[in-house]
Amino acid sequence: MSKIVGIDLGTTNSLVAFVKDGAPVVIRDRGGDALVPSVVSAAEDGTVYVGREAQRRLLTDAARTVYSVKRFMGKGLDDVKGEASLLPFRVGGDAGGVVKIGLGAKEFTPPEISAFILRDLKHRAEAFFAAQGEVDNEVERAVITVPAYFNDAQRTATRDAGRIAGLDVVRIINEPTAASLAYGLDKRHSGLIAVYDLGGGTFDISILRVEDGVFQVLSTGGDTHLGGDDIDLLLMHKVLAEVGWSQTAEKVQEIRKAVIQAKWDLSDREETEINGKRYTRADFETLIRPIVDRTLDPCRQAITDAGLDASQIDEVVLVGGSTRIPLVRRLVGELFGRTPHSELNPDEVVALGAAVQADILATGNREMLLLDVTPLSLGIETMGGVMSKIIMRNSTIPATGSETFTTAADNQTAVDIHVLQGERELIADNRSLARFRLRGIPPMPAGLARVQVQFQIDANGILSVTARELRTDIEQTIEVKPSYGLTDDEVERMLLDSFEHAEADFAARLLIEERNEAESVILATEKTMRAPEFPEIAGKDLAPGEQRRIEAALAELKAAIGQDDREVIHEKTHALNDATKHLAEVAMNRSVQAALSGRNVNEI
């Protein structure tokens, strides 16, 4: 039986994880990087790039590069008009139909774009298992996470993305539930959990109840356009105001990198430099305070919606890179009156939880049981454009509901049914999921037929429908036309199409991996050389000319990654690795000594 991995398919970054010797771990590339930026780019020659490489191309070829595709999953063109106007890539499609995104010369649906990312994660996992020397290294099954508020169309689109990428999505679970699983909070006998998720571009808050290993989402809230990117933008504005607003694209990118580095620095230090000037954590906190404050109202609202008081929350879990910022931790801690969990890497925690669930599925371990709920009520259109609810929101899934229909005319053999999801009274305010035509009703006088339609929501929150005429006990044929989704045939065709890309993708992937590894070596070297203790190390521990040799190797590798020659990058990476071997040992020894003497490295 093939392995099951856990995947966090994020708006900004995606990750893959699995359980090894009883503990979940994320799978890194050879350069040690766990995050795959959720970016897909197509070159002129049709080569498709994913992740870091695609992110790089955002600077050089923005029109052929797609990001934040998660925002479009399961959506119709009408839903995303506002969103699309803010993005550099083409967003189109037929009115009332599924969104199409322009990538190079072709158009793709959001599940196809997401499939490129999933395929990259699949390959990453397979390469990892192969490197571990495992005989069976194929990855064909996955647990994928989605936001708790995702509706049926968005969940179905996520499952379709998996199928197009050659992955059987054995379970879709909610991100906050996954984060709680990663922390082992299911082991609590009972408790209330708040999951605060501040990512690159989105903010989500969820309140969960856990009882004897059973999870229930009580409420969710958030802001779909609030995150770390807004903080970067504020810092960039600050610098651009100082250096002048008209800058070349390269210079702007340089500034962007510098301010992101400064933001990271200020999470573990009291001060840093931006644009050659001293910048303290206090300055930073004053600047970003309004952004962090904007997350607090949705938190209060979610607590109220759950019928609770902030003091009743037993555990607070932090998710998303932006929760590393001390101000965020402090304000969240104050709001809930307790120190939030931050023991796990907030970028990885959702993927780790997905891996825990994957392991439960693969091994059949019955200690834990995750019972999610459906976030929205399911219903059908009745006379007068009113929605009649069949399965109520917050019902534990899987769940069923049924409704009996009859015919309005003599000898009528078909009935049209419109399925919706949402909480509002009028169908126009709810989400249209699908239209069904029930056929094969035996001819009889009007009002005599009794067609029972059974709605089934499975453990993934995905709907299926069956129907039966009760008088004759005849099973009905149902044609499903998802309002904003793909039919099975379309998914099948996309899966076949994707094989055509496979060859070109392979060469591109090798280059990307090489580049990623090079980048991480560069990053590590630069970090060591920028550390406050470096001048002392250079003076005391390094041989004459050693620093110069390192700097030369660094410059050569930086030049090499700008080119497309994989061999050269490989060679220069090794060269830099060799040149920094001694430096790395020295730095490591110092930090070990510092740790042994109980002092912080920064204090030496």
Binding site: M1, I4, V170, R171, E211, D212, G213, V214, Q357, I360, L361, A362, G364, R366, L369, L370, L371, S395, T396, I397, P398, A399, T400, Q456, I457, D458, A459
Partner: protein, 232 residues
């Protein structure tokens, strides 16, 4: 209860063809999870007698215990037929738990399986139950007056106070109503315990049905007052 179980029809395991009691979850012969049978009911499914007082802890424990037996998470590697059976059985369990969790939905469900289903809420709300005629008449008059006062610009806090007051008798009615439901439930449970004849059970069920209709009506009245409140 014992006599009922022995008299219960058999279901057939689709996997090995062996017979199993209708409320068994797994085939006694081949141990495979059984396709859900169209017979049986929520009470039997959870191993409970058809009684209206159920300990909340008992119900929770049965629910979790059965979830751990047939949740789809544990059948990911099983054959398609077993996966299907696990999905159906889990859905049925979740529906059963949700239905039996509160007394009122338990009563409604009992009436349904005993063949005395309440009319649809829409239908029920159109007809004023006899026992409520007086209160409904008074309330409607009061609401009309409040609407007139609102139209003539009476301050909101005065209107709110009147609405609160109008609510009083209805709230009282609901409280006494809950007590009646509880009393009838106890009566029903005693009948089940001593395996009473249908002739004895029938009047209790009829009375329960009346209470359910009244309850729907009372809830509609309270919702009407809430609506007026939000208009003020």
């Amino acid at each position: 209860m014992t006599s009922q179980i022995t008299a219960s029809p058999l279901q057939v395991c689709r996997d090995c063809g062996g017979g199993a009691p209708v409320d068994a979850h797994f085939c006694p012969q081949c141990t495979k999870i059984l396709t859900i049978s169209r017979h049986g009911d929520y009470f039997r499914f959870l191993g409970l007698p058809r009684k209206l007082h159920i300990g909340a802890n008992d119900l929770d424990q049965r629910f979790r215990g059965l979830s751990r037996q047939f949740h789809p998470d544990y059948f990911v590697n099983a054959a398609p037929a077993e996966r299907r059976a696990s999905l159906e059985r889990s859905s049925y369990l979740n529906d059963a738990y949700r239905t039996l969790k509160s007394l009122i939905s338990r009563v409604e469900y009992l009436l349904q399986v005993e063949g005395l289903a309440a009319r649809s809420p829409q239908e029920a709300s159109q007809q004023v139950p006899q026992s409520l005629l007086q209160e409904v008449f008074a309330l409607n008059e009061e609401l009309d007056e409040i609407r007139d006062l609102r139209a003539s610009g009476t301050p909101a806090d005065q209107l709110k106070a009147r609405l609160e007051k109008a609510r009083g008798p209805i709230d009282e009615k609901r409280a006494s109503h809950e007590a009646q439901l509880d009393e009838l439930s106890t009566k029903w449970d005693a009948l089940v315990d001593r395996n009473a004849a249908d002739a004895e059970r029938r009047p209790v069920l009829e009375a329960l049905r009346e209470r359910v209709l009244e309850r729907n009506y009372i809830n509609n009245l309270l919702a009407g007052i809430e609506r007026e409140m939000s208009n003020v």
